[in-house]
Symmetry: D2
Subunit: 288 residues, 4 copies
């Protein structure tokens, strides 16, 4: 995995489309002896916007990590770019929120513990105590915030205070069955990843498997998205589906759905970790 | 195909659940020397309802086709059954409605012409003339009804008059871009099959690919359902999906979607033709 | 899950096809007040064989568990049946074999610990020590057998001796990278479940992802099957696939493949646990 | 479709990997005012090879179509490139070979007639007369070559003579059940597209559905590939699969498989038409 590969730098770029952008960026990299490992771009012709992800080996790059941004400024300004610069060997810090159901949490912890993901998990936060023992078993700190209707604001403030200490790079809602306030979300723009147990935009909100059962659909799904203030309406990171039939009771849909949920969430987290995701106009471009 | 197989009879049964139903039905068939080819059943425990499809070889069956219903009455009454009796060698008559897009129509006509489906297509009806030449090419009668907002009721009456003559067993809307009135639909309960170009209940109504594009979904789909008075809300017969990504423009979604649409519709038509479908509470049970 | 459902009995039946089998079995159940929860059957017309799975609620069944087999003998003999009788509330014992890779093991242990599966895991056996800590973390006994070419027979004898004590109902090879001898396998006919990391019969044997990469396939897969003396040739329980493309290196195929492997294996184990599987002529019928 | 889009030029490039390739190519395009519509590249680190597809709008390009190659020579020589230059508005000529089964042929003809594909179909060639009427119905010339074991060489010579006149750009084997000789194939390197009715490399050769049935697989598939001298071993263009179960007889597998075959073949043809395909080491890179 990542361990065996030399460190690379990643630029995620968006700007108004015009000719010469790729030439300018690749000339910049070539001039400083950057070996391009990956380059992908997309033009949104309706919006006249250009998007690009480029990753290059920095082993023999002529610029130090600190020099890259200052030197890249000229290119960025010429094309009015918004950009992010990342390094592949940075280990991000991921906070996990969970409620009572553990299937996504187990899947995340197994990937983390086995070294499949380059990530630290400094904290697991829950509105219930059910998952405390699972956290303990994997040696991750667990904090319980008994959120209810009346104390929600207070609890969120305490969670924010804790997160202020923990300093996570992003948050994963691994079946966290509480709706976060707009205030809370505003602290982590495009940095909270949720898994919703339906094929959005079908069955927004609570009890999607019941709704799917009642509608008699032949396929159910799961959707991972960045959390925004509007419920289940943030930029979609990943979706997948599962064929079902009339034999499947609601309980059976719930059971089968868990497998799709955990895979969809884990694929979304990996895309986020690999810095493959660009968000524009409430949509994602996944360069993978 | 069906041609090579000896004729069979099919019973589709629904009734309140109680013990002894399968024993009674299978004893009835055994007593008259019916060799069961297929038997499947389902119990809806919430509704306490029992559903069954049983198909048997009638080559050596002791009862003639005409005698089956009268003799089966005793069993049916004992369990308060609703049932349908079909014969596999009956060739049904299918009327096809189409607008300007031909992909579903071509697929249907190819299956019909090549003998894949045991069906007759006595008529193709359209609100446009575009598909007249395709109908001619396959030797099927084509009738043009230039429906618009003002003449819709009149046109539907003319269509119904024509269908009264043609006597189709069921109707397939092969991308027919007109909403049928409740009055029209009431003549063909669970006998009008539509294809909707989205994964229902997501993106009900017009322009679902545009809506899917704007929402940034990672998967699009198609849904075939029986038409009811409520738009895109009838019992779902079949659904399938297709992975897409940010590169796919609306035009590209439309192009890719056509392949899913035509397969989903054709699978739904085949289930209907094979008498695999039971409808209860606006949901289908597909015994296949 | 199973906990909430009243206990049921399951009959898996195979016999030469003739008329009256379903009638006889269902009449037997009806006579003793068995409420059928599920009945599915299949006729193999080439082999002239009949297969059936029937499950019934035994809460009010007139026969005790011990009486069922003696009473059923008459029916079984009349139709020359082979059959198995199971009870849904029996908790089976599952031994797990693993080598160095933990993804299937984690998935199995999570399902077991969270109560998703009604099963006991008395032992984890490995030819390496890597997974000892994972076993400890989940509180399952771990035994290390350092198998190599020279001591394979001796090691298998020791494993058999241990299994003789543990008395598992079946064995799961959760990415166990040793080929079991025919002698070992003969102790557990259709009771050893393996996961092979390819879409069998493509890429039998070692390093299937390398072979898939070299062939340039667009889809890779995984296959779970009962182990027989012939390598990767036993009855297939479950398969699934994953779309890949030219960007995917062998390492990436291995990474993506793990998710398919663990799901395919877990679905196979669940079918086995639920007694949905009938084996005939090296093929499975999965009644689900 | 293509009609609405301004003409573009496409370069497919392969060369030994080194830094500066993308910079050089994009600088070349920028210098001549080429607006890049699409650029994708791939590095095979094992082979140290670089592959790229770049497409640009030529409406305002400073070089005429004839000037592009001469001007691009400098770049190509510098990096030791093999390349192909295509123009999106060129209408290619596609010869279709078919035997008795029409499902792929119908699908191809419908896409062609409805204008979904920018292609001409000057000829349909068959070893049987069954599809003559379908060809006539779509107004395409049909030629019958009654190939058998004894006259195969002679028939191929006659086919080649005809193709010499017709001058197709490529050939599609739409379920053509004859093995072409290496001599025949050598005239159309990477320009003969076949559909094989299995998930290659499983079930190479004749009767793959029978083989799949006998093996008891849970998924069947289809594979489209360029034809090479070795049977069913050419570079794979596209694959897809279909879930099946023990109920599916061989006839049912054949029936269901047809739908996968026709879609897989049509997707492969479209990739070929759009010049998305690069072949290297008997593998394809599909830039889409």
């Amino acid at each position: 995995m990542a361990e065996q590969i030399p460190p690379s730098a990643i630029l995620l770029i968006s700007c108004p489309d015009k000719t010469g952008i790729i030439a300018a960026v690749t000339e910049f990299l070539f001039r400083h002896r950057g070996n391009i490992l990956y380059l992908d771009q997309h033009v949104d012709h309706e919006e006249n916007m250009f998007f690009m992800r480029v990753e290059w080996d920095i082993t023999h790059f002529a610029l130090s990590r600190q020099q890259i941004e200052p030197e890249f400024q000229l290119v960025a300004q010429r094309f009015d770019m918004r950009y992010e610069l990342h390094f592949s060997d940075k280990k991000e810090r991921m906070a996990v929120f969970v409620s009572k159901q553990g299937h996504c949490l187990y899947d995340i912890l197994a990937r983390w513990q086995s070294g499949e993901w380059r990530v630290d998990i400094p904290i697991i936060i829950s509105n219930h105590e059910d998952m405390a023992s699972v956290a303990a078993q994997f040696g991750v700190e667990f904090r319980h915030f008994p959120v209810n209707k009346d104390n929600k604001r207070e609890m969120e403030e305490k969670q924010l205070a804790l997160l202020q200490l923990v300093q996570p790079d992003f948050i994963v809602l691994a079946r966290y069955m509480q709706i976060l306030s707009g205030e809370f979300i505003s602290h982590f723009p495009n940095r909270i990843i949720n898994i919703h147990h339906s094929f959005l935009p079908a069955f927004i909100g609570a009890k999607p498997y019941h709704a799917a059962y009642n509608r008699g659909v032949k396929i159910v799904g799961a959707t991972s998205h960045y959390v925004t203030a509007e419920l289940d309406a943030g930029p979609i990171l990943e979706q997948d589906v599962l064929r079902v039939n009339h034999r499947d009771s609601v309980d059976e849909l719930v059971r089968k759905g868990r497998d799709v949920e955990k895979l969809v969430l884990s694929r979304a987290v990996l895309s986020h970790l690999r810095k493959e995701v660009l968000v524009y106009n409430n949509k994602t471009f996944i360069f993978s």
